[in-house]
């Protein structure tokens, strides 16, 4: 009886250890695979110098009575220039560079420029935004845990690590890629408070000729 027990216990223990090792290997394999995927994505997005895309943004925030849906266009020029033009529900334009934000809105009809150096809160938010729009996510691995939610088309989920200050605000960020994996199709930011913002990109054109006025907020006046 005693012998039998040993014969049963040992294979079970061996199997258990094997499963443990295999799961460890799987986790390591996953991490390596994700890193390879993100690196490939980084290579893909580095292939274009500029981008023009339409977008729809849905804001589901507790501060608002109802969900807000915005429509507009985004122009992106490397390195570090983003123009954001919205037509609904309020017409406004924002041009972001590494130094300042230049903005105009229909309600006030004023052009305003804010230096980022004096505004750490905006600077932080825009730094985050620039990274998410860049598509180059390898550098985020030190601050976020990454999970693949779907392989075709690729969908990643980024969750702030415990020591990442962004974790106080952001619960997770889901990035969905286009079929050709050249850029984002959708980005969803879920906040700790339950607020969420979803941006869906449509009609994305790479290296389209971007003209000076596309980065002017006044052109819309």
């Amino acid at each position: 009886m005693k012998v039998n027990n040993i014969f049963i216990t040992l294979p079970l223990l061996s199997f258990f250890l094997l499963v443990l090792c295999a799961s460890g290997l799987t986790a390591a394999d996953d991490a390596a695979e994700i890193t390879a995927m993100l690196r490939k994505l980084g290579e893909n997005v580095s292939a274009f110098k500029s981008l023009k895309t339409d977008f729809i943004q849905e804001k589901d925030l507790a501060i608002f009575q109802s969900k807000i849906v915005m429509k507009g266009r985004i122009y992106l020029q490397k390195p570090g220039r983003i123009a954001w033009h919205v037509d609904e529900p309020v017409r406004y334009s924002v041009v972001i560079t590494d130094k300042s934000i230049r903005q105009w809105d229909e309600d006030t009809d004023r052009v305003q420029e804010i230096a980022l150096s004096g505004n750490p809160v905006f600077q932080n938010v825009l730094n985050q935004l620039t990274v998410w729009f860049s598509g180059d996510y390898i550098s985020l691995l030190k601050d976020y845990d990454v999970r693949v939610l779907k392989k075709s088309p690729l969908v990643f989920e980024f969750t702030p690590k415990a020591n990442n200050a962004a974790g106080k605000i952001i619960k997770n960020i889901t990035i969905g890629l286009r079929e050709d994996e050249r850029y984002l199709k959708q980005i969803r930011i879920l906040e700790v408070s339950g607020d969420s913002t979803t941006i869906i990109f449509n009609d994305t054109i790479f290296d389209a000729p971007i003209e000076g006025p596309d980065f002017e907020v006044k052109r819309r006046v």
Partner: protein
């Protein structure tokens, strides 16, 4: 009497020359061995005057550890590369530095730490809002303002920069946190440097430069250590990719560069001087025993270092360096004795004849250095001891040992004798020379009063162009050329320091304006004030006021699609603030965990405490005796004056300003110099009179030192040169030498005996001029200024000694010729 006893002693040493020589050799061996036990120090304190302002400033710089930092500015040189490449390489470089040499390396401020500090500040808002600001908030609670605020909030939430700000707007609909952020902005923009934080790194505004700051384990004064440190850093920088250029900014680079330049200059000077000396002695004097003249100061300085160490304790390196230079003056005494004795079958009467002028020449030089005892600069007191001992020893050896070491004449007249004879017989001093001297001296005496003291030490800094260029590039990129002045508050108790800082801040704002005075008191006050603020805040948010605001937010919020409970988090936070804090509030910054006794260790009140990551680290420092809180203001005479007046009202506070420091240094040194000059002048006059006991001869003997002072200062003013720490000592040396020449030549004019005085003076001047003349071409500005001083001073002294003094003696002194 002097002649009688000195003559007897000379005879005694002549009779016992072997035992005297043996004793001297033994003493030399003992002294050389004793050198091993002498301790030295390299502290800068010894070369600074004893002055409260200077002491405080030096203490501040020592403890603030500013000087020990090494900064590397990394620049992207390829347009193909971007800031992420730069930051990656910066991190790799930081990680690769030798931690034994660079114990702490910082490449930026953690954004999460800043976010944590901002978050902590928002939580402590009730304590940070003053009574005046509450009145301002009260004015905001009206329909128009609330409507505007909500419109702005609505637009902001729709824009990309408002993407994550929903929660923040819910807890602050009036934008009260902006009151804190504005102050924070003022604090962070006061560094004088143009720095952005990107991905936790220091990045320049153009995004093409990154900065690495390393704390160094090597003192700036440690030359060998600095070399090792720079070599290690350069070794690491060499591994950077080709698209990154690095500039090193640190005091160590100046130390190494200055030493390199001085060494290069000394090798060059030594080579030229050695060749010239060999030619002079090989061609003109042609006597191997003359070499002993140059050994006398070497032996004297060895004795002097040992004896000075016994008397004073640790000796400063620079005192030893300068003392050794000054000791070189002793070759004059040896040379004078040598030419008196040379070629004589019985040198005794000739040597005895020069004992008096040589001794009094030495005594006048000693008299000059006696004045150094009255200086407020500790190093000058040490220098006086070292120099006086070496001159006494040199004079003794020159008179009582050297003549017995000289080779006996072979009966033939030597080449040197023939030149000496010609020089003695030649009548080069005439009325025309005297008239020329009067004219030049009168003309230069006008300019002599306009010579200035060098206030900027950079002008005698011999740092290489490459380093200066790197610093210029650094300032062009990062700013920081104009260092602000600092107001320092010291206290044993942290809260006391904060309270005083707060009171000073209030006074400073009235005196110079808030925009010109950056103090953490604008953001973080003493606990007492913070408690008062918190109490006022709680009283302010009465139920009635809260209801009024709630109603306005609801009414105006509907227009912008805000929900009914959109701003409930704000009202919840007001409820929370009404409860007293469970733990006492703790001060921010570096010393948090060592602060007040009631604060539990490690409790940082929500602020980041890691060194280099706190917003307040720049403003609060832990010292050995307590705490130091610093504030900054523009370093101008006007502001420094106002702030000095304010700090005078608060014991324990003082200002540190480069402008004030420079002025104080200049004033104190000038005062010291005036006192020393007066004492030296009186001592030299007394000593010279004691030599001659004749008023006219005394005046004539003083002509060379006076001429050298007037010509030197006059020509320096005309050439746009100024007096600095290095050429000041050279000037003293020149006056000492010229006093000797004045005494020698006046004594010679008595025509009692031919002792080859003109030849001795000429040889001395030529040898000194060779060394000094080469110095003019030195690359190091300090050495070059010494060269100019020596050449002008000695030239003036030699001219007046040889070409003016004899004629003046002929005109005004009745000869005592044999």
């Amino acid at each position: 009497m002097f002649d009688k006893y000195s003559g007897r002693f000379y005879d005694y040493t002549a009779r016992n020359k072997r035992p005297v020589q043996v004793i001297l050799i033994l003493l030399i061996i003992i002294s050389l061995a004793a050198l091993y036990f002498v301790e030295y120090e390299s502290s800068m304190d010894n070369i600074l005057p004893q002055n409260e302002v200077l002491d405080r400033s030096m203490e501040f710089f020592r403890n603030s550890n500013i000087a020990g930092k090494v900064v590397v500015s990394l620049e992207l040189t390829s347009p193909e590369k971007d800031v992420s490449d730069l930051l990656r390489e910066t991190d790799l470089l930081a990680g690769s530095l030798d931690r034994n040499l660079f114990p702490e390396v910082t490449v930026g401020i953690s954004e999460s730490a800043v976010a944590k500090d901002i978050d902590a500040m928002f939580k402590n808002l009730p304590e940070m809002v003053s009574g005046n600001e509450l009145s301002q908030i009260d004015a905001w609670i009206d329909q128009k303002h609330v409507s505007q605020k909500l419109h702005d909030a609505y637009l902001q939430l729709l824009k990309p920069q408002g993407m994550l700000l929903g929660s923040m707007l819910r807890s602050d609909p009036l934008g009260m946190r902006m009151l804190v952020l504005e102050k924070l902005k003022a604090l962070s923009s006061s560094t004088g440097y143009d720095v952005e934080i990107r991905d936790g790194h220091f990045v320049s505004r153009d995004g093409r430069h990154a900065m690495l700051i390393a704390k160094s384990a090597v003192a700036i004064t440690d030359s060998a250590g600095s070399k090792k440190l720079l070599a290690s850093l350069k070794d690491r920088l060499a591994t950077l990719p080709g698209y990154i250029r690095a500039d090193i900014i640190c005091g160590h680079a100046h130390t190494v560069s200055n030493e390199k330049l001085i060494k290069r200059d000394i090798v060059f000077i030594s080579f030229i001087a050695a060749v010239a000396m060999l030619l002079l002695y090989g061609v003109v004097i042609r006597d191997f025993s003359a070499v002993t003249i140059f050994m006398i100061p070497v032996v004297a300085i060895v004795f002097s270092i040992d004896l000075s160490y016994l008397l004073l304790g640790k000796l400063s390196y620079w005192v030893i360096g300068l003392g050794s230079t000054v000791a070189g003056i002793a070759t004059d005494y040896g040379t004078h004795v040598y030419f008196a004795a040379q070629g004589k079958s019985d040198p005794s009467p000739f040597v005895k004849h020069v004992i008096k002028p040589v001794s009094f020449g030495a005594l006048t030089t000693i008299a000059i250095f006696l004045a150094f005892f009255f200086s407020g600069i500790k190093g000058y007191n040490q220098l006086a001891v070292v120099t006086i001992i070496s001159i006494v020893v040199s004079t003794f050896i020159s008179i009582f040992v050297l003549p017995h070491l000289m080779l006996k004449p072979d009966g033939k007249t030597s080449f040197a004798d023939r030149i000496a004879g010609k020089l003695e017989r030649g009548n080069i001093s005439n009325g025309l020379a005297v008239l020329f001297w009067i004219f030049i001296t009168l003309a230069l005496s006008y300019f002599a009063f306009h010579v200035e003291f060098e206030r900027d030490i950079k002008n005698i800094d011999g740092t290489e162009k490459e380093i200066i260029n790197a610093e210029e590039r650094f300032h062009k990129t990062w700013g920081g050329e104009k260092t602000p002045a600092v107001l320092v508050v010291n206290s044993k108790d942290y809260e006391d320091a904060l309270e005083m800082n707060e009171r000073i801040y209030r006074d400073a704002v009235q005196a110079v304006g808030a925009e010109n005075f950056t103090s953490m008191a604008s953001l973080w006050q003493a606990e007492k004030t913070r408690k008062e603020n918190a109490g006022r805040w709680n009283e302010f948010w009465s139920e009635e006021r809260k209801q009024r605001l709630r109603g306005l937010l609801l009414q105006e919020g509907k227009k912008y699609n805000f929900s009914k409970n959109a701003f409930e988090p704000f009202f919840e936070s007001l409820k929370a603030n009404n409860d007293p804090p469970s733990t006492p509030l703790t001060p921010p910054g570096l010393p948090l965990n060592k602060g007040r006794s009631e604060t539990s260790p490690g409790d940082t009140g929500g602020f980041s405490e890691k060194s280099g990551n706190s917003l307040f680290e720049r403003f609060v420092q832990k010292t050995d005796n307590g705490y130091r809180v610093v504030s900054f203001f523009p370093d101008t005479k006007e502001y420094a004056g106002s702030m000095n007046e304010i700090s005078g009202r608060y014991p324990g506070s003082y200002i540190v300003s480069a402008a004030v420091l420079s002025n104080t240094l200049s004033e104190v040194v000038s005062k010291d110099l005036r006192l020393m000059t007066l004492i030296s002048a009186i001592s030299v006059i007394v000593m010279t009179y004691l030599c001659f006991f004749n008023f006219r001869e005394t005046l004539i003997a003083l002509v060379p030192p006076l001429t050298s002072i007037v010509w030197l200062f006059g020509l320096m003013a005309l050439l746009g040169l100024s007096i600095n720490a290095a050429n000041m000592i050279a000037g003293v040396l020149v006056i000492g030498l010229n006093s000797d020449y004045g005494i020698f030549m006046t004594f010679r004019s008595r025509k009692e005996m031919n002792t080859g005085t003109v030849m001795a003076i000429t040889i001395c001047t030529v040898t000194t001029l060779i060394g000094a003349g080469v110095l003019i071409f030195a690359k190091h500005p300090a050495l070059s200024s010494v060269g100019v001083t020596m050449v002008i001073g000695l030239g003036a002294g030699f001219f007046s000694s040889v070409m003016v003094v004899p004629k003046l003696c002929e005109l005004f002194v009745k000869g005592k010729a044999i």
